[in-house]
Symmetry: D2
Subunit: 377 residues, 4 copies
Amino acid sequence: MTNKRKGRAAAVAAPPLRRVCILTGGGDAPGLNAVLRAFVRACVAKGVEVVGSEDGFDGLVRTDGGIKLLDLAAIRGVLPLGGSILGCSNRANPWAYPMKDARGREKLVDVSEHVISRLHDLAVDVLVVVGGDGSMIHAQKLAEHGVRVVGVPKTIDNDLAATDITFGFDTAVATATWAIDALHTTAHAHDRVMVVELMGRYAGWISLSAGIAGGADVVLIPEIPYDVERVVQKVRARSASGERFSIVVVGEGAKPHGGHTATVTRGKRGHLPRLGGAAYALAAELEGRVPHEIRTTVLGHLQRGGSPSAYDRVLATRFGVSAAELVLSGHSGRMVALRGQSIVSVPLDEVVGRSKLVPIDGELVRTARAIGIELGA
Amino acid sequence: MTNKRKGRAAAVAAPPLRRVCILTGGGDAPGLNAVLRAFVRACVAKGVEVVGSEDGFDGLVRTDGGIKLLDLAAIRGVLPLGGSILGCSNRANPWAYPMKDARGREKLVDVSEHVISRLHDLAVDVLVVVGGDGSMIHAQKLAEHGVRVVGVPKTIDNDLAATDITFGFDTAVATATWAIDALHTTAHAHDRVMVVELMGRYAGWISLSAGIAGGADVVLIPEIPYDVERVVQKVRARSASGERFSIVVVGEGAKPHGGHTATVTRGKRGHLPRLGGAAYALAAELEGRVPHEIRTTVLGHLQRGGSPSAYDRVLATRFGVSAAELVLSGHSGRMVALRGQSIVSVPLDEVVGRSKLVPIDGELVRTARAIGIELGA
Amino acid sequence: MTNKRKGRAAAVAAPPLRRVCILTGGGDAPGLNAVLRAFVRACVAKGVEVVGSEDGFDGLVRTDGGIKLLDLAAIRGVLPLGGSILGCSNRANPWAYPMKDARGREKLVDVSEHVISRLHDLAVDVLVVVGGDGSMIHAQKLAEHGVRVVGVPKTIDNDLAATDITFGFDTAVATATWAIDALHTTAHAHDRVMVVELMGRYAGWISLSAGIAGGADVVLIPEIPYDVERVVQKVRARSASGERFSIVVVGEGAKPHGGHTATVTRGKRGHLPRLGGAAYALAAELEGRVPHEIRTTVLGHLQRGGSPSAYDRVLATRFGVSAAELVLSGHSGRMVALRGQSIVSVPLDEVVGRSKLVPIDGELVRTARAIGIELGA
Amino acid sequence: MTNKRKGRAAAVAAPPLRRVCILTGGGDAPGLNAVLRAFVRACVAKGVEVVGSEDGFDGLVRTDGGIKLLDLAAIRGVLPLGGSILGCSNRANPWAYPMKDARGREKLVDVSEHVISRLHDLAVDVLVVVGGDGSMIHAQKLAEHGVRVVGVPKTIDNDLAATDITFGFDTAVATATWAIDALHTTAHAHDRVMVVELMGRYAGWISLSAGIAGGADVVLIPEIPYDVERVVQKVRARSASGERFSIVVVGEGAKPHGGHTATVTRGKRGHLPRLGGAAYALAAELEGRVPHEIRTTVLGHLQRGGSPSAYDRVLATRFGVSAAELVLSGHSGRMVALRGQSIVSVPLDEVVGRSKLVPIDGELVRTARAIGIELGA
């Protein structure tokens, strides 16, 4: 109890381990391979074999195949690579798993029994799930059904409450900042307003961080419904003071006051805003109200791509080693996390379903306002 | 005559020079500042003063202001910067210049007399125009009216017939290749088809070069109307052979066989394909016909942005110095150009209005086909 | 008192502010300009004028000149630039300031009275010192003499005890990681041992972080005197297992067991190890004892150079705003700092002279060992 | 005969091909893997099998092993990778091959018979040598002994007379330019002279190109013996005009007037200047003669490392395809090359042993002088 609070985990008596299975679920994030590499190296050094389930839970759902030996050779050279050598998949719920019937129609099937018995048949002692909130919900449920489970948090948007930072976020912010830097010169040359949409359906961490780092003039985030009039005023004020251009960063899930509210229930993908929707909507609103041509850029998948930053490689490696330490010391039902500058572990049942939004009166928002960034409200 | 053919320029008797004016017209391209820096340094070393017209021809069209002294201090530190310290503008034709009347309505006005007399009033001996085909047409016309003019070619699309390569192109290809690299890892992790639209309304140079450099599977360019069925077959064939994903590069002006043909007359902007149009059209065609999710990325203005590559900085510097040499040796009516690996000069009247498309049976297309890139026809 | 401990600062009754002076002392670090920009923006928005002392304390030591107005125009466009628009200087001690006499011989002079009276003459209400431990010692001493002082920590080596992270460190690690990545391919192609020396005279933070991020095989840091035999064994073991090459990272201040100990008193520069010394000494030791050619790279000043990373720009901006908040709320004798993920302030007299070394049995060292990095002991 | 002159190759009657062998000799260069990938793809598409000799000629010298099948799977994903998946080796001369005897002493052995008979035993129809001048000399000699041989030029220094540009050079210049950019900010912050040594034992192409692209103030190249007094004067003149710093680029093989002349016979490695020698010698000469601290950076192996630039990937791919076309059309004794912007082929016997130095009165040198770069003479 006390331990949970403090984020430290008490070791329990552990049976000898022989084989663990790891999978990478949800959208990909730079650093997944660094987690896999560190986890495998730490386990193999202790005589424990690692196998990987391909494409998230898909490898375990299959009746054969889908499982790959992760020995030292398998993880050689993967540290600087984006993506995941195991593949990813958004299908994370063994209790309602989308499968195609004989006529090709997709329906939701309960495959949890199969997954649990397949883990048993494969002689897997522990399942390590690298994934976002969706994956953790189901990892936790598997734990309740007796599977030993350890989690590693992954969300490029940085919106998991349980960890201060996750790998992938720094790379995404770096790529977004590079893009804002690049747009500055062309915006200046042509006296333009540049609207650039960054990732973040529910949380504005990427937009706010990259907006600060890139020197944006306006940053609109999902947490603060915006008044387009304030954006117009900011752009006009810059024009009046002789600035030739403005850079407007808009988070994927940002919306105007009283505007169409993106459904914030995670996972209900049908209700999500379309990629580019936020940027094009804003650009249309600005058109004709500011004395500039407007150009729109949707950075999209580029933010997930490319080689992980040094920061993300270090954090992912620390997570991978820490997960291995949990596994090797007999823990289950816990997820590794960063608290402050320290790696800790937290109970899965306390962390699932809790997201972390940008505090609208917190230090980062205050910093943005202090340097003159218009937040739209 | 013979000299023109050979791209060498005969020096004529030159009056002593005192002041030259330079401007950067059309869309911005990485390397413009390197041209300005080299030109200014080379002129100032010979005792010639350089002034710049702000925002392309706009600075000259104004009745006052719009002209900036370009001394050594003005060009300090600009070498690694994208954009243009002078600003750019697409308004290049002094004989039909878009101006607003008292009621704010735009109409085309002949300002050529004004521009010519302003150059005289400013005691400008030579006008140097850094710009694309549109700018060169009007530079040549000014030359016919007695203005001493020297040109420096600028087209990020690399579609000017008069020069083998222009600055900005290499940076654009590098940025596009970086993007394709980044999309590879996320495409692989999720078994996706990634459609990425690159610049090039009439010419496929960027798409073909970046497609080869980035390892694209399909490259569709304006010069080769495509059959979507061939794209489908290529993606399916890759799937069948176990490849999880495909990368499809589509040039901004690429179109299907018998599809809506983008008007290729340069400068008629109303008839141009919309940014993103080619990519979204193709993605819609592929949807449901390939066993993959499809994601679309429009790289857009990012290709113009950022710091120029080393290659572009060297080429731009060579152009800037060569333009200064033409000016200092009393030439007029000529444009600098790269032929093979050499800097030459060519008569403006021979080069305007001639574009350079990718030869559909040339070596670059043959190279692409030889390594298995599907070109759609 | 309690506040000090907790790193929170109680506001005191503040006289109305008119002008503050800021300076950047010590070696340069990427992010200095982001601090200046944020500080100026936050002050100017509150009606407070900012001036800068050029070249660290030098600007204040002069009898005239050396002081520069930092208005909004002065800090425009500086966010992505490395270095400092104010210049830096290692001469930080007004009580023993190196000056040249009439015959050009340098001697140490007490200029503290002059500095204090010049601040008074300039009508400076508060002095903000951005600098390392040396600068803070003297900032604190000025505070004891009645100057209102606020500090911002700067150390690219990340070795200040008072703050978990400083700006510049992330960029240095990123550059070092890029270098290690680059050396991998050429090391592999030629079966070589690559020795690369990274910054860090007393602390191994850069070496250990970049070594983990870059996939080094051996990392030697000042905190852990190394046994060259262990390095030899590691390289041989890799050879025996079929690995063609090894990457050995060595911190600037790393030394063998019983080797010549670099004097660790900060500031006594005459006793510091020479740049490259650690790497060449190690390479000489390895020569002939491993079955490889050995190549040495000293990354040196490149680690300070270039555009700050997005991470460093955000952190530096937070520091700059936080320093402005301290100034504006009437505080003195405090330094901003990062604790965990939060910006706090700490009393100068508690932080000076305390360095932060890599804990030799801490989590980062344990992580390195767990993934098989040889630390030499 | 005429064909040779024009760089076009006449097809000869070709026997049906079954298997070709390719190797990468000499120092590694970014783009080698792109050559291999393109060559393999082009050959496999025509039903020809490709094998690779590991570590340059070493694979062929062995009595077994050392030969690797290069099918489509083997070259998957290698396009963005530096180095060579085959490994490299400087041992290129089968007529005087360094081998160890029973007592571990190295001596030169004639293994040409063995190599020729091994190619026969392996049923190799054509040998493709990717390498520098040394490799081509021996490729040509093998051709004289009846081996069908095709060459692909490789020299990161760009000093082969037979081709205008080779792959790897652009990446090296880009990396060097990045380094010069990075040194600018730290040089400026501390009023320093930065001496940076770049690759180029005999030819100054990298130094001159990167010096122009990076905005160096002084560039010293092997082709122009320098007068250190001119360097001193340049630095002093900059100081006098208020410039705080100077960047001095020095090519690896640059030397003062009447200084110790590096032996220019290629391949006599014992007589080569030491890495860093040129820079440290110059820094020592400048010490005390300029009013600045001096710092020295030796970029070294970093210039070979890292992912090839887009330019180099395209050029390497064109070379690889062109080599395949030569092989498939029955040619032998020829090397592919870039002339102007075109890929051609040239006879091996005309190209070996001819190097390409920077013309000391050519356009690139003239450009450098025109923008104020001091070349030391």
